[in-house]
Symmetry: C2
Subunit: 316 residues, 2 copies
């Protein structure tokens, strides 16, 4: 029987399809330390990591029998994919399961930040009275505004679908323009990065963490944005230079930000916490029971397909 090492105390119900077909090792606590992974991965055929540790060369070398790293998540900046591949180890992820929940959370942040729902709720729950008068404490509209999407992949397109129905105009930047047919579905216009910064009322980051996207948004980019712009990051904290963002929010160089991810999660810088014009979430893109179960199902499907059908969904 092939052996699966789970890196986390996942819910059993989502992995039910694996039962009886594989030997499955779960941690007897929330998660294994890296050292514990290294010890236990020796005779595992499959490793299921998540973002609580880096699956680096040390772990990969320790996994003498390892054939598959079946990631729980869509990003794979927690895995040295190049090194895995060089050792003949396949890497899979869960793009289907995370698609709608992540786009949904992104759109929730767009609305909660612009229309000040999160701010109002915070103040009212803290017993503040707020300004209920007609022209006090106004938010920003979403309808009729331009949404700029950096990274128009599947999640970006799913956000665009919601945005179009909400009366937004879509511009986007990618390494390459999309097919005309996809563009026309969202009436989306390809623009260069400079134009994206300059014309977006809302700028949503939807690209993976990589050398190329590290601190994609820094001081210069924030200054190029509209004073009335709202920055939304539901991708990875590393895409934004936190100190530059704090400064821009303090100086009102941009209107506000909605952040689901941070450079040193789960730590959130004190300076962000103290600001009125930032909405904060605890990496909640897939933080629903349904999404977690769907992710487990996708991991299970990837493992089964790999061994039974000899095929995998392409990492994307």
């Amino acid at each position: 029987m092939k052996k699966i090492l789970m890196g986390y105390d996942f819910l059993r119900e989502g992995f039910a399809p694996l039962e009886g077909k594989f030997e499955i090792i779960y941690p007897d606590k929330q998660l294994f330390t890296k050292q514990e992974i290294i010890e236990r991965v020796k005779d595992a055929d499959v490793l299921v990591p998540n973002f609580s540790f880096q699956t680096d060369a040390e772990i990969i070398d320790a996994g003498k029998n390892l054939q598959l790293i079946a990631n729980f998540g869509v990003g794979y900046n927690n895995i040295d994919v190049a090194y895995s591949t060089s050792k003949g180890i396949t890497v899979t992820n869960t793009p289907s399961a995370v698609l709608e929940p992540t786009a949904e959370l992104c759109f929730a942040l767009i609305l909660a930040t612009a229309r000040k729902v999160a701010y109002y709720n915070h103040e009212l729950h803290n017993g503040k009275r707020l300004d209920w008068s007609l022209f006090g404490d106004l938010g920003m509209p979403v309808y009729g505004q331009t949404l700029g999407i950096y990274g128009m992949g599947r999640i970006g397109q799913s956000i665009a679908r919601r945005a179009v129905a909400s009366g937004m105009k879509i511009i986007y930047h990618n390494r390459r323009p999309l097919d005309k047919e996809i563009e026309s579905r969202y009436n989306a216009t390809y623009v260069d990065f400079e134009t994206l910064l300059k014309e977006s009322d809302f700028l949503s980051l939807n690209a993976p963490a990589s050398k190329e996207t590290f601190h994609l948004i820094g001081e210069k980019e924030l200054r190029a944005m509209k004073k009335t712009a709202i920055l939304i990051n539901t991708a990875r904290g590393q895409l934004v230079d936190t100190q530059a963002l704090v400064k821009a929010l303090k100086d009102k160089d941009i209107y506000a930000a909605g952040l689901d991810v941070f450079e040193n999660e789960p730590k959130i810088p004190e300076e962000l916490i103290g600001l009125d014009n930032v909405v904060l979430c605890p990496h909640a893109g897939t933080k629903t029971y349904a999404a977690r179960i769907d992710m487990e199902h996708e991991v299970a499907k990837n493992i089964i397909n790999f061994f039974e059908k000899g095929e995998i969904d392409k990492v994307n």
Copy 2:
């Protein structure tokens, strides 16, 4: 020159179309008291009220020259419309200007409540750490869920348009079913009130305040709803029995509520403020600069059309 009495210190820019054509009286403070309205309405041809006072028989009788009450707002529960009509005074409102902003705020509440954006933000801004683990502090999905709309008028349909693009199934209850053509636009199904309560994962109230809708949602209705249901009220506070809602939220008879309106605005009951599973907004359906200006433009258009063209948009 016809004389307009403004009940509130509105922004001048939205009423620019009226300048030079009418004599316009604004309060020299935020708003006139009712007594001040009664004194000043005597020789006014038009009164522009908002929700800060009731335009009742006493005010209407005092307005000897009154031909038009041009409401700033879509609801007209602040005006005795029947009495105005009986005296030959026309009443107009601003349904076009409030349409998209209100639907937008409603959808913002659906997302912020289900996906816990408002709760997460509140806790994080209060310096709490929250549970960042994979299975802690989970929210509810919106995608794939059923949205029940009570009052499928223009705003209800605008919400439905956003909901469909967000992967929701639409059911609704109205006095009468909509035309099949409108139903099919949103793939919406007409159901009776009982079914609406029973089958909605999200129940959105979008009906005006009236005798018929007073405490539409009380103890019995809340008990008929799913334990996992979320109630959204962006219509009028009077539609919900606050005490029954507090009890249902405390007892977890429903999952959560998102409220933009309250029975005794701007007062919010202490018991609601103390609950984790309610998102609170300060009647913010049109709380953007753009929406306020659009509302003023619509009031101005109503006044000009009434005197110059002798026609008005139907109150709806």
